[in-house]
């Protein structure tokens, strides 16, 4: 076998072009992978157990970790004596393991019982508080709630009980009136503020360390998955407002842009562009690199679509002479369009290489170029893409990826052909470097890099 050990060194300019092409392809692939990993992380987390923590502080004062505000579908109806007690907030990203969760659940049950007992006790001995109560207060004095609850134990207790009676998923309500000054100012039902609450009190182990220190009134938790209670989620009002305003504004902007082409403003802009061009001393529009690339891309797409259309027409067997005539007309029409595209290419090439000075591009240069490679969205509002099953979505996504990959593969194939064949033709044939080159070329060009060619020397002298 020959060629396996021989090296083939690419000439420098050729190497630069090829490596740049390949590196570009690798970079975009890696970038796509990174984006995908990011969204995978978020999605995976969403499907794990959601934990809502609820923390009891002192005498029956129930501090729900402000979390997951929207589990309750009718939050405004939750009985609550004062607006500020309505506040809930959420706990972000802590995903305890199963053991922890189990323990937390047990603790929750114990605590709920404790609250009930406390309430009874505090009602009974309102004036004469028991030592245990005091110690509980002291224990939490290091926490943010300390000043408040010595004054309001019974209130807080009743509040907690009213919260307990609330139907639905919302199991905990908040007292914590002094914990977060902002809380009190928040209007009830205003869900935009939720985040601040959570920022003020970091949940999870950190919270336990700081706030729940010795008396360690542990957080009560509610555990659920999206699967169980996902349908009870509700988007915050402020967000809903902002989102619907957002889509309205985008729609308005699209509508304006659609009407733009006819009005006076359009004319004024064209006039300005023309004047600027003339004032700059060049009578013709010369395309920039970005524009040439954008045009090339659009033409490439045209070519693909035209070819697709041709194949569709040729594969259909016409059943009557009308259809036959239609196919004929289509083929001839396609021919004309291809001719126009070719003309466009020639004009672009000429303009770009300045062979024909003063030549004007017939295409609308104002529309053809844009910042993102020639894609001009005539409408900015997203459309819906409806799918019916996981399988269908996967098929769709895989196909989209396949098409993009094939597209890239064809592009690379052409680039490699353009670079490698001239080398093969100019090298001295039969020598080891040439064989190495052929072998690599065969693998890259005919097998997509998957398989190799074996070359044997059939030496008659042996």
């Amino acid at each position: 076998m020959l060629g396996a050990k021989a090296d083939y060194l690419l000439p420098m300019d050729c190497a630069r072009r090829l490596v740049a092409e390949m590196q570009g392809a690798l970079d975009s692939c890696a970038e796509r992978q990174r984006q995908l990993e990011r969204s995978l992380r978020v999605s995976r987390r969403l499907l794990q157990v959601w934990v809502r923590l609820r923390i009891c502080l002192g005498v029956g004062s129930v501090w729900a970790m402000p979390w997951l505000p929207c589990l309750c579908r009718e939050p405004a109806r939750t009985p609550a004596p004062e607006p500020e007690t309505k506040e809930e907030a959420a706990t972000p990203a802590c995903t305890p393991n199963a053991q922890d969760l189990k323990e937390l659940e047990l603790l929750t049950q114990a605590l709920e019982k404790a609250v009930r007992v406390r309430r009874v006790v505090s009602k009974a001995g309102q004036r004469d508080r028991t030592p245990s109560l005091t110690s509980a207060s002291n224990a939490t004095a290091s926490g943010a709630t300390a000043p408040a609850h010595s004054q309001v134990p019974s209130q807080a207790g009743s509040r907690a009980s009213s919260a307990r009676s609330t139907k639905g998923v919302q199991r905990a309500t908040v007292s914590a009136r002094s914990a977060d000054p902002e809380c009190r100012l928040r209007p009830r039902g205003d869900r935009t503020q939720v985040g601040t609450g959570a920022q003020a009190i970091r949940p999870g182990p950190g919270l336990r360390d700081q706030q729940m220190a010795p008396a360690a009134v542990p957080p009560a938790t509610e555990l659920f998955t999206l699967k169980e209670k996902g349908t009870l989620l509700q988007l915050p009002v402020a967000f809903r407002k902002a989102a619907s305003q957002n889509s309205r504004l985008w729609a308005q902007l699209s509508a304006i842009q659609a009407s733009d082409s006819t009005d006076v403003t359009r004319a004024a802009k064209t006039e300005f562009l023309h004047k600027l061009q003339t004032a700059s001393g060049s009578s013709s529009h010369r395309p920039g690199a970005a524009e040439v690339e954008a045009q090339a891309q659009s033409l490439r797409k045209a070519c693909t679509l035209l070819r697709l259309h041709m194949q569709k027409e040729l594969s259909a067997a016409p059943t009557d002479w009308m259809q036959e005539y239609r196919v004929l007309l289509i083929l001839e029409g396609l021919q004309t369009i291809v001719g126009q595209c070719l003309h466009r290419v020639q004009v672009l090439q000429a303009a770009a290489t300045e062979q024909l000075p003063g030549l004007r591009l017939v295409e609308k240069p104002t529309q053809a170029s844009s910042l993102c490679g020639g894609e001009l969205h005539s409408s900015w509002s997203p459309e819906l893409l409806l799918y019916s099953s996981t399988k269908e979505l996967q098929t769709l996504a895989a196909l989209k990826l396949r098409v993009a990959m094939l597209d890239q593969q064809i592009h690379l194939e052409k680039v490699l052909m353009a670079e490698l064949f001239p080398l093969i033709n100019t090298q001295e044939a039969g020598r080891p470097p040439w064989l190495a080159l052929c072998r690599a070329a065969y693998s890259l060009l005919c097998e997509g890099g998957e398989r190799f060619l074996t070359v044997l020397r059939d030496d008659p002298t042996d």
Partner: protein, 422 residues
């Protein structure tokens, strides 16, 4: 007199208001006063405008290290971006970088960008807060290397061809990984959509998207999302206002150009800077040209064959009167079909084309009122496209194989063993 003055005053207010709207819709837009000073080429306006142009021309740079660039470097980025877009004024491109000179030129460049296309909309779309789940845009070819700036490659020495082979292998591996990750992502998406069905306030959307669900899970991200949405809304409102008021700005820009003209009428004698076309762009054009020529040849053959067959077959048909009406109807139908086809790749294509962002919606029950693209439909289109691309690739590969076999066959004493499967 009085009426005229009022009108003049009204117009005098209209301009700053229009510019103010423009500023608010731009990322870090300057005050209207800056624009006025730039008209008179005042030096203090220049740094702000350089900065603005930089933000406008590299909108995605806001997130990365490019923002830390020195003013001179930013100015170089601005200039090269303008050159690559074909900006015609040499005065701007030759001005010293980042200095206080030429604020009027900067204003002209900005206006040129604004006049050419929907700049504001593009900028807004690029940084748009994405609420829905979308399929990655393969169409726009983030995956394919075209359109991306050529990566910087250091090859001082010749490179072994095996490096290219290795890179190809790596790419194939990358593709496989992408596919499997994407399959998982689709499964997760579909679950999230299913589990949150009926939660969305907008009935037509039905379920929540990942971004929306994540917002409910993590209040911090909720706050960020809301803020981002609100600031985008403010910019959108400003852009709308600008759209209503911009006429007065263009009338004013006319006077700026006049001022420019009267101060330096000799501009025509300056050498025009020719925009540099990259090797890459021209290479891409050449490839497209070859493809189109091949297609033209195929079409010519097919059409000629059919034309002959058709004329031999139904030669006498042309004399029948009803035929001429049928023919006319057919011609019109074909015309419409072809116009629609052409519309699908022209940059100003109609909105129903897949260029638009598409929010993925899992349709549980067939809601009749729901409008949107059906996945099945897109799958059909994509399958056809895939088949066509596969064919094209195989054609290229067999062409290469023939060529290599020809070269190899010319050499005696060598036996070529092709890989199995061929």
């Amino acid at each position: 007199m009085g009426r005229r003055r009022r009108r003049v005053e009204g117009a005098a207010r209209a301009l700053p208001e229009a510019i103010a709207a423009l500023s608010r819709s731009l990322p870090a837009g300057p005050s209207p006063e800056i624009f006025r000073r730039a008209k008179f080429d005042r030096p203090e306006a220049a740094p702000v405008l350089w900065q603005l142009l930089f933000r406008v021309l590299s909108p995605l740079a806001a997130n990365n290290a490019l923002t830390d660039l020195a003013p001179e470097a930013q100015a170089r980025v601005v200039k090269s971006a303008l050159v690559s877009q074909g900006y015609p004024r040499s005065a701007m491109l030759q001005s010293p970088e980042g200095g206080p000179q030429g604020s009027r030129e900067l204003l002209l460049a900005l206006s040129w960008l604004l006049a050419r296309g929907p700049l504001l909309e593009q900028l807004l779309a690029q940084t748009r807060v994405q609420l829905g789940d979308e399929l990655p845009q393969c169409e726009c070819d983030t995956l394919a290397s075209r359109g991306l700036p050529a990566p910087h490659v250091e090859t001082e020495r010749p490179v072994d061809l095996r490096l290219v082979e290795w890179m190809m292998g790596k790419l194939r591996f990358g593709w496989r990984r992408l596919i499997s990750s994407q399959q998982e992502q689709c499964a997760l998406l579909s679950k999230i959509h299913l589990y949150t069905r009926g939660c969305h306030s907008q009935k037509r959307l039905g379920h929540l998207s990942v971004a929306e669900t994540e917002m409910l899970r993590d209040p911090e991200s909720s706050q960020q999302l809301l803020q981002a949405l609100e600031s985008e809304n403010a910019r959108l409102e400003a852009a709308l206002e600008w759209r209503h008021r911009e006429l007065v700005f263009w009338q004013w820009m006319d006077t700026v150009l006049d001022a420019c003209w009267s101060e330096s009428p000799a501009v025509t004698s300056q050498p025009t800077v020719l925009p540099m076309i990259s090797e890459r762009g021209l290479g891409a054009l050449e490839l497209v040209k070859q493809d189109l020529q091949a297609l033209q040849e195929e079409l010519r053959e097919a059409a000629e064959r059919r034309r002959e067959a058709w004329e031999a077959q139904v030669g006498g048909l042309g004399r029948q009167p009803e035929w001429s009406t049928t023919r006319k109807a057919l011609q019109e139908a074909v015309e419409r079909e072809l116009v629609a086809l052409q519309g699908s790749w022209e940059p100003s294509s109609n909105p129903s084309q897949p260029q638009r962002p598409h929010r993925l919606v899992r349709s549980q029950d067939e809601l009749p009122g729901r409008q949107g693209l059906q996945a099945a439909e897109v799958i059909r289109t994509l399958s056809a496209q895939e088949a066509s691309l596969k064919r094209a690739l195989h054609q290229l590969q067999s062409q290469c194989q023939r060529e290599l076999a020809r070269l190899a066959g010319a050499l005696p004493g060598l036996i070529w063993i092709m890989a199995p499967g061929h």
